[in-house]
């Protein structure tokens, strides 16, 4: 790739940061997609390669994919349109890419990478280390921004050949390694919470504080094993706390 095309890729990646700026139920990320491909449309319009208004109107159609993979789709479509591919071919390519990458991105980033990087920083945050947020930001955004930029660059350079490239790499929405990492880090953080005096349960009679905390954790894991969503567990425990508080307040002098 030339430095010019790398700059173009960086431009698409930068514009992709706004891909959900005006997310709407009707056409979802259409306005963000319009922003990403607008430089390519201007280029073709100034070269006399097409009707700008018609191209722009087409680019305001439905678009929805994982935001980190949006530059890959935009780069691929831009490359194909600049190569003179038929509009229906380009549209088919756009739809197939955006649908397949949406599920992969949700699983890979939202379900795995994001909780994993937050869990990496969580123990440091619980210990009061001021660099903990920076650790989370760095470990997450290096791969995140890399995916945006490389996706745009690969899409621009390969066009429709990106399909074969992606299939050869067998992108998947889940990873057993990441899943185990999440579970182990979550357990470590919970154990930390259970045994730190600032965060854990106090001693309960003859039961020392760390064991009280570990026991509470075990009970909570068993409850969580019922499959309740986190916000339902928070709601149930909060409701119990409110009831307990009400009893205390009624009985208070």
């Amino acid at each position: 790739m030339t430095s010019r095309s790398l700059l173009r890729a960086a431009g698409i990646a930068a514009r992709s940061l706004f891909v959900q700026a005006s997310w709407n139920f009707e056409r979802m990320q259409n306005l963000g997609y319009f922003l990403m491909v607008e430089p390519s449309v201007r280029r073709r319009e100034s070269a006399g390669a097409g009707d700008g208004a018609r191209m722009r109107a087409r680019n305001l159609g439905l678009f929805n994919t994982h935001p980190y993979f949006a530059p890959l789709v935009a780069g691929t479509v831009s490359a194909e349109e600049e190569a003179g591919s038929a509009p229906e071919v380009v549209e088919g390519l756009r739809r197939s890419l955006m649908c397949s990458l949406a599920g992969i991105g949700d699983g890979l980033f939202w379900a795995h990478l994001r909780p994993l990087t937050l869990l990496i920083a969580l123990p440091a945050a619980l210990l009061g280390e001021p660099w903990a947020p920076l650790l989370a930001l760095a470990t997450y955004n290096v791969p995140h921004l890399g995916v945006r930029f490389l996706g745009a660059a690969l899409g621009l350079s390969r066009g429709r050949r990106i399909l074969g490239f992606l299939q050869a790499r067998m992108l998947t929405s889940s990873s057993p390694v990441l899943a185990v990492g999440i579970v182990l880090l979550a357990g470590f953080a919970a154990g930390l919470l259970a045994t730190m005096p600032a965060w854990g349960l106090p001693a309960l009679g003859a039961v020392p504080a760390p064991l009280a905390g570990a026991g509470a954790f075990a009970v909570l894991v068993l409850l969580a094993g019922l499959g309740l969503r986190p916000h339902r567990i928070v709601g149930a425990l909060s409701l119990l706390a409110v009831l307990g508080a009400a009893v205390l307040l009624v009985g208070a002098p």
């Binding site: 005006s22 379900a111 001021p130 947020p133 854990g200 509470a216 425990l237 706390a241 307990g244």
Partner: protein, 229 residues
């Protein structure tokens, strides 16, 4: 409403843009956003602690596809901001305050998600505007219209935070004084919620969650034994 509370609410509004409208750079997660708000308010340690607390509560929520749970990420950010704005309160230790704020976690999360749905419906007007501008041969203005949703998402981030922080600024101290006898209950709640949230996150990985027991036991043993302090 105090100027400090309004400024904090505006900051929360800016940070919350990262959740959907701009970047998704992890800034809106309570662990990072709470630290930012704490630094802004002059209490970086408190902001980080509150952020870590609320982060444990929302790690297990995954918004993917058509699943739209309550916006616990935003609620955690507001919770951290509320903790920082309260400062130190007589008869309430850190954990008791966090526990009390956690009770408001779900209502704020639910309200935030409802507002977000309204914003996403309203954002269709930017598509109409962009289409008109494109047809009129004004593509640069159409690009500006494409960013119009940032304003609505920002307002959606500011409004619940302003309500919560404003209420705390006006009535927070008096309410806390009245609720002081119940502080131990909220202290206990705050000590149970984070492990519960983390356990829920682990159990979602149904085939591999049992190692969490081993990791937790090992960590507990290490710290109880004084290997790590």
């Amino acid at each position: 409403m105090g100027g400090g509370a309004l400024a904090t609410a505006l900051l929360v509004g800016v940070i919350s843009l990262d959740e959907v409208a701009f970047g998704q750079l992890l800034l809106s997660q309570p662990l990072v956003g709470g630290a930012l708000v704490g630094w802004w308010a002059g209490d970086p340690v408190g902001g980080l602690a509150a952020g870590a607390f609320f982060q444990c509560l929302c790690l297990g929520e995954i918004r993917a596809g058509s699943s739209v749970p309550p916006d616990t990420t935003y609620a955690g950010l507001v919770g951290a901001a509320a903790f920082v704005s309260l400062g130190s309160v007589a008869q309430w230790n850190t954990m008791a305050l966090l526990g009390l704020l956690a009770v408001g976690f779900l209502p704020v999360a639910g309200a935030a998600r409802l507002l977000e749905i309204r914003v996403c419906r309203a954002n269709a007007l930017w598509t109409r505007a962009a289409e008109r501008l494109v047809a009129a041969g004004r593509p640069r203005c159409a690009q500006a219209a494409a960013l119009g949703g940032l304003v609505l998402f920002f307002l959606r981030g500011v409004l619940p935070a302003a309500v919560v922080l404003g209420a705390l600024a006006l009535w927070g101290q008096a309410a806390l004084a009245r609720l002081a006898p119940a502080a131990p209950v909220f202290d206990l709640l705050a000590r149970l919620l984070p492990p519960a949230g983390l356990a829920s996150l682990a159990v979602q990985r149904r085939s591999v969650w049992r190692p969490a027991f081993l990791a937790a036991g090992l960590a507990a043993g290490l710290f109880a034994g004084g290997v790590v302090r």
